[in-house]
Amino acid sequence: MNEQVILEVKDISLSVGPKSILSHCSLTLHKGELKVLIGPSGAGKSTLLQCINVLTQADSGQILLEGREVMTQNAKELCCYRTKVGMIFQDFKLFDHLTAIENVSIALRKVRGMSKEEAKKRAMQELERVNLAEQRELYPAQLSGGQKQRVAFARALAMDPLVLLLDEPTSALDPELVGEVLAVIRDLASGGMTMIMATHQMDFIRAISSEIIFMENGHIVEQGPPESLLGENAQSRTKQFYNSLASV
């Protein structure tokens, strides 16, 4: 594996009032890695992802993109940073008043400053990549959950991000639609995209993740490759959690 570090998160902490939501969370993403965040709900997985692209401002900690610290207080630098760190939400968050292709092209126009035609052309490529070329003129309300999430992928990928943050991308989907979204993630992984994903899809994790990060009560409890945390003789907290899910 290529050892080039893309994203480094150091010592992120966040409290709301007296309650600590995240304490001293650190992680490193190398190029082409898919790291998976797991843990019970309320562990802070979503919050950690939101802190990584500063949709939630952490109380303390550092974020380094390609070795350079991101000055999150500087609005301009923050916007520029966010274009390089794509985000996929559990509930898609498509722009409801825009068609699929407009959802993908709007940031290309407003943020990248592309012309209408240029942006449309690029957006079309991204929609083709997720197999939604035919649905380009449909509005979010006319798409299925799986299609919405794939548009969200196209929207994020159009910005050419260095990293994708995925916040339970399949949790809001009907079971039969989960596959089509996982297929997109698998394609991205094999194409070398660097990703960190919060999820409960345990079998999927075993199959394709390079590392598992287990969180509980705002702490990163353990991290390691799936074979060592989930292997036959593993005595890990992750394994316990895995078994408790499997026994349901």
């Binding site: 609005a75 274009t83 008043h97 709007i106 940031a107 407003k110 309300a141």
Partner: protein
Amino acid sequence: MHSLSVVIGALPSILSGSLVTLGIVFAALAIGLVLGLFFAILQVYGRSWQRALIHIYIWFFRGFPILVLLFLGYGLFVALSLPVQPFLISCVVLGLTSTAYQSQIFRGAILSLRPGQMKAARALGMKDSQAIRSIIIPQALRLSIPGWSNEYSILLKDSAICFVLGTQDIMARTAFAAARTHEHLALYACAGAIYFVLTLIIVKILAKLEKRLHIPGYTSVSGEAL
């Protein structure tokens, strides 16, 4: 038959007064649209002192009768030695009043958008101002059309009170003709009918606009829950 000929005789004057009425109403609506939208955005996304100031503004215009506000406006124009033109004062006072009400229409619309629209825009690297312009406002304005059409019909009829300043609107011209001819019943019925028709036409146009701007399958979140 006498009343009919009086009405016919006064009609040209009353109808030209309706241009003045519409002038005031559209000017006030325009002022209210621009300022109201701005205030609504500050109320939702602004700092706490900005929200507090707007809150005071809204309660001032909500709490004072328009008649009082018109005379206050008149007094203010005199005190500041601005040109004391009844038409201008009426536009400004009704515009500032409508701002208060329209800001609440827009604020409600912004708050009823599906959650996370702003977050998604930020995550793509948009500045807040870009996100508000290209994501929030287009959605909020669509949801505001019904409330806005209501605001138009209220404002149109509120504008009748501007005749106290000497504005030459429908009401003033009717009152003048009535005082001269003593045909109050016929003349005011005619004036009422003109207000009615003006309400009907614009409300219908706005309903058409709402339909045309409708997005397939998309209603506000509250609409979807029903």
